[in-house]
Amino acid sequence: MFRFRDMPVARKVGLAVVLASALSLTMAVGAFAWREVRSYRHHAADRLRTLAEVLAANSAAALLFDDADAGARTLASLASQPRVDAAWLLRPDGRVFARYGADEPPPQTDEGAGAVRWEGRWLVVARPVRLDDEPLGWIVIREHAGELVAQLWWGAGVALGIFGLAVVVAWAVSLPLRRRISAPIRALAEAMERVGESGDLNVRVPGRGRDEVGTLIRGFNRMLEQIADRDERLGRLAAAVDQAAEGIVVTDPDGQIQYANRAFRALVGLGEEGGTGINLFSLYPTDEPRVDDLRDAAEHGRVWSGRLRALRADGSGYHEECALSPVKGADGEVHSLVVVKRDVTREVEFEARLAQNQKLEALGTLAGGVAHDFNNVLTPILGYAELALHQVDPHSKLHRNLSRILKAAERAKALVDQILAFSRRTEDTRVELRFGELLRETEELLRASIPKRVRLAVSCEADEDWVAGNPTQLQQVVMNLVTNAWHAMEPDGGTVEVAVEAEEVCEPEPDLPAGRYLVLRVTDEGCGIPPEVQTRIFEPFFTTKEVGKGTGLGLAAVHGIVKQHGGTIRVSSVVGRGTTFRVYLPLAVRAERVEERVGARETMPRGRGERILVVDDELEVADFLAQTLETLGYRVEAVLSAEEAWQRFSRSPGAVDLLITDQTMPGMTGLALARRCRQQRPDLPVVLCTGYASAVTTEDLAAAGVAVLLAKPVSPRQLAAEVRRVLDRENGA
């Protein structure tokens, strides 16, 4: 069905014009016809009434004298009235006295005197005939209204003609009119359609009229401008949101994602257009307790923020910082949720590592303190045991027992060394060396110590491998790591891969500043380290090995050494597949090669009667040092305080060839003593013994003129070697 509201405006206007003109014409014609009929009736009635009156007057005598013929003759005069088709003269009792025209009974009438009445197509008038108020009878005249009907028909025909003509004229006249009216509306409609289809907001509708359509057009144009303006602003906002560094999602109150920005898609690992339809809460592991808080906040329309473990689309986990803000409508209901996420996995790991380092630091301080005291106990045990060993018959039972004491004490010292290495309190005697060479030298030792079922693949080649370090300690790092590696593969065996390579660290981490590093990689195919254990492997005395098999100090020592060298360790491990340790050591820029003898063994060099002043506040240490040096052929004077030493030295500064002093003493430190003595004798060589190697800086040592720093406990061999070296250097200088 073609409905009026679906018509084009032009047709509507045309229809309205035609309908309006038709209606007004109909009304005009109707009014005209009504007036015609009324006028006709009026005139006809008047005429009939007059006729009746005349005839009544003329009939009185006929009635009075009972002369029906005369009555008929009177009525016959009506022949001059063509419309009158019948008339009757009645006696007072209603009987017909005379008639004219049709031979039919007179129409009954109950009207008053002279009333005119319509009877179908006839107009009937009845009038009493009187003489001096005496009723003589009635005259009834009937007129055929055919003329009126014909007139009406003719009028109707004319009206219809005019009507048709008027409608056609109205339609024709409305053509240009409705074009003028509908053209701007059509332009508007077309523009709207164009905007709707193409979204092109630059469309403008021409129109200058001051009428409603003109207002509409101007309003439309203005609206388009505003929409374009708003679109631009929204676009900027959308771009800002879409390109924000944080992942931003908008969800419905149930968490169904309706919008996800680029960062979020990248964060969660969704495709370019993905994200919508996923539920926000499905992106968290079920065992993450804080998801419930998040969900609760979403349900109650609260703001919430915090760190959670979250899942990517592929199921892998990460840490995020999540801020949830509910968007409420005017009704207070939550309409949507805006969630901003940031990947904080690195921060979380940094913090965990930092905490771990702090823990290890604390442990190191504790262990270091214990080890230092223990060293002081060990020094005389070792010293006297070795001294005594030289003094007894090598074949005696006493000699064997002393050897056992010495061996046990040396084991204890090794343990203490490990602890000190972990706590980074060992003497820092670094040289610049090529790690590749060190590894090659260590390889021999490793091959000797590991079982045959373990294959060792060592790759020593690296373009750059200069590092500044203590070769003994670095060797210990390699040894400890490889030992751990093959232990992890027991009893099946497998391959331990050791390699060095240079690596550039571009993204600094708290314990790994940017720069070039030498990386020592030790990979095994062992049982792997579970994640919960990974955080503890560097703690001293933490071991997963059977009781008696490990000391729990190996990795702790490695950690300490590496830290002391300004490096760091990374562990990656898959349970059942193996573990990779990566040791990062800062590369030293060095072109020239320095030879360093590693593990050189020689007989104890002897003294040639040089005068040595020994200071140590502990009697046993002082005595041990004095006895050892005297045994080696030096002339020794031992004192128990710095003050005493200063008095002895200042009495005859030239009578001392070497000062061996403890660092930590009541009253005056070894360094202060050394500085004081060297003010008197700037060429005086000084050897500083200390349990806390790290407590003194190289600058302090240089300023005090200390030639060698000896870490306690000092072995006689080490003492002999260092003293001889210092004295020879002095002599040579």
């Binding site: 006929a62 004298f65 007072p92 209603g94 009954q108 109950d110 003589l136």
Partner: protein
């Protein structure tokens, strides 16, 4: 009100009027009654000159030459003519006749009829009579028998000379009208 009801009422009214007024002439009424009724009706269609009857004077019917109507004549005094009360008198001499406005002359003696007609000739007195050739003898209205009914003849000339005028409607009803040429005495066939 139905039309039938209306006509019944109209008829009843008409019938009620008949015995009292006798303005129509029922067929079975006596001949004299009809003549008397006609006389009255004719008077109603006749116009007298200005001032006749004089102001305050009743309309006077006069009867001369016999008494054919009996008590019915006296009943004329119960009627009114032109808004005036009527009087019915018996005339004995021409003087009395001249005081009347309508005079019925009974045919008894031909000689005296002529004499009386002569006496009122030219005077405003409507003369009526039933003598044969009444109008030809100078009378104004003469009742005659025609087709078994009482009809009348009118002498317009006599009426005109007396200053009386008869309604044209009545003239149409007359079986004979004489004196149209103004000669008065001449009768027309």
């Amino acid at each position: 009100m139905t039309r039938r009801g209306f006509f019944r009422r109209l008829g009843a009214m008409g019938l009620a009027l008949v015995p009292g007024l006798a303005w129509a002439a029922p067929r079975r009424a006596r001949e004299q009654d009809v003549k008397l009724a006609y006389l009255y009706n004719l008077v109603r269609f006749t116009r007298w000159p200005e001032g006749v009857p004089a102001e305050g004077e009743p309309f006077r019917f006069g009867l001369w030459g016999g008494d054919p109507f009996g008590a019915a004549w006296d009943d004329l005094a119960l009627r009114r003519v032109g808004g005036r009360p009527a009087e019915a008198v018996r005339v004995r001499n021409p003087d009395e006749a001249l005081r009347c406005h309508a005079l019925f002359l009974v045919e008894e003696d031909g000689a005296s009829l002529g004499w009386m007609l002569e006496a009122v000739r030219g005077r405003p007195v409507l003369t009526a009579g039933d003598a044969p050739g009444f109008v030809d003898r100078g009378g104004m209205v003469g009742f005659v028998h025609r087709d078994g009914r009482i009809r009348f003849e009118i002498n317009v000339g006599a009426m005109r000379r007396s200053g009386l005028r008869m309604s044209a409607d009545v003239l149409r009803l007359a079986v004979r009208v004489v004196g149209l040429e103004g000669k008065g005495d001449v009768s027309l066939p």
